[in-house]
Amino acid sequence: MKKLNDIPQKNPFKVPDSYFEDVNRKIISATSGYDQEVRKVSIYRRFRTNLLIAASVAGLIIISYSAIKLLTPDKRNLQVSEVLHEINPDSYINDIDISSLEVDASSILPSEEGPDVSKNDIIDYLLLNNVEINDIYEHL
C-alpha cells in the first residue's frame, strides 16, 4: 500500500440506530425556546443599516447648522456695519465710475452759454428788491 488511492474511500465510523431522527428532534425542541430572542435580533439586524443612515444624516444636519450659526456674523453687527458703510462716503469712491460723474457734473454746473441776461436787467431786478444803488455799483 503506497498510495492514498489504494485505500477504498469508505466511512469507517458508525452511529447508533435512528441517531439522526433523534438528534433532529432534540435540536428542534432545544431551539424552540430561543424563538423570541432570535426574532428581536433579526428585526434589529434588518433595520440596523437604515438606523445608521438616519443617525448619520441627523448628525450631519446638526453639525452643519452649528457651523452656520458659529461662522455667520451676528445680524445686529451686520446692520451697524451697513450703516457705517452708508455714512462714510469714502467707502463708495471706488464704486462710482469717474466718467459718469463728469457727465453728471457738466449737467449740473452753469453753462457758459447760459440765458442772455444783461447788466441793466440785473440792476433793475436788484433795485426792485430794494438793494441800495451804491451797493449794486460797488459789486458790478
Binding site: 500500500m1 503506497k2 498510495k3 492514498l4 489504494d6 485505500i7 477504498p8 474511500q9 469508505k10 466511512n11 469507517p12 465510523f13 458508525k14 452511529v15 447508533p16 441517531y19 439522526f20 438528534v23 433532529n24 432534540k26 435540536i27 428542534i28 432545544a30 431551539t31 424552540s32 430561543y34 424563538d35 430572542e37 432570535v38 426574532r39 435580533v41 433579526s42 439586524r45 434588518r46
Partner: protein
C-alpha cells in the same frame, strides 16, 4: 456543491424568510448528517460529535438573523460546524486524560471504539495518518477527500486563499502516504 443541493439551499433560504420554524426544520433535516460526519471525522468520538453537532445547530438558530440569503448557506453551516469541532478539539487538548493520538490503541481500550468503528486495517491506518496532521491540514484534507468540497467553497469556510488550500491538501496527501508506507 451539486446543482440539486444548490436548489435545496434556495428552498431553505426562501422558507426561512416566510416561516422561520419550518425553514429551520428543513435546514436541520438537510444538513444534520453532512455536518455530523464532518465533525465526527475531526473529533473522532461519537459522543463529542453529538455534542458539537447540537451546539452547531443551536448557534445556527441563534444567528440565523445574521445570515444573508445572497451568501452560501452550505459554506456558512460548514464554517460554524468546523469552529465547534475545533473548540472541542482544543478543549480535549487541555485535558490530557482523553488524548487520542492512536486510534487503534484507543479503540482497543474503550467501548466506544469497538462499538462505533467498523473500518478494516487499511481504514484504521488512514484515520491514524490523518490524526497526525496539523488541525488545519486535517480539516482541508477531510473536506476535499471525504466531503468533495471545491477549493472555492473551502476558501469561504476556512477564510483562506484557494492557492494556500491546494498547497495544504498536497502536503497532507504526501504526509499521509509517507505514514501509510512507513507503518
Amino acid at each position: 456543491m451539486k446543482l440539486k443541493n444548490i436548489r435545496q439551499d434556495d428552498n431553505i433560504s426562501e422558507l426561512l424568510k416566510t416561516d422561520l420554524n419550518k425553514g429551520f426544520r428543513l435546514l436541520v433535516e438537510t444538513y444534520s448528517q453532512k455536518l455530523y460526519w464532518h465533525i465526527r471525522r475531526l473529533v473522532i468520538l461519537h459522543e463529542d460529535a453529538d455534542d458539537a453537532l447540537q451546539n452547531t445547530f443551536i448557534n445556527v438558530w441563534k444567528s440565523i438573523g445574521n445570515f444573508r440569503s445572497e451568501s452560501s448557506l452550505y459554506t456558512w453551516l460548514y464554517t460554524i460546524a468546523t469552529n465547534e469541532a475545533l473548540a472541542l478539539i482544543n478543549k480535549r487538548k487541555r485535558n490530557a486524560a482523553v488524548s487520542i493520538d492512536d486510534l487503534g490503541r484507543y479503540f482497543a481500550s474503550s467501548q466506544e471504539g469497538s462499538t462505533w468503528f467498523d473500518g478494516d486495517e487499511a481504514q484504521l491506518k488512514l484515520q491514524n495518518a490523518i490524526l497526525k496532521l496539523p488541525d488545519k491540514q486535517r480539516i482541508v484534507f477531510n473536506l476535499k477527500y471525504f466531503d468533495e468540497m471545491t477549493y472555492e467553497e473551502m476558501s469561504k469556510v476556512l477564510k483562506t486563499s484557494e492557492g494556500a488550500l491546494k498547497a495544504s491538501y498536497h502536503h497532507a496527501v504526501k504526509k499521509i502516504e509517507k505514514i501509510i508506507v512507513s507503518d
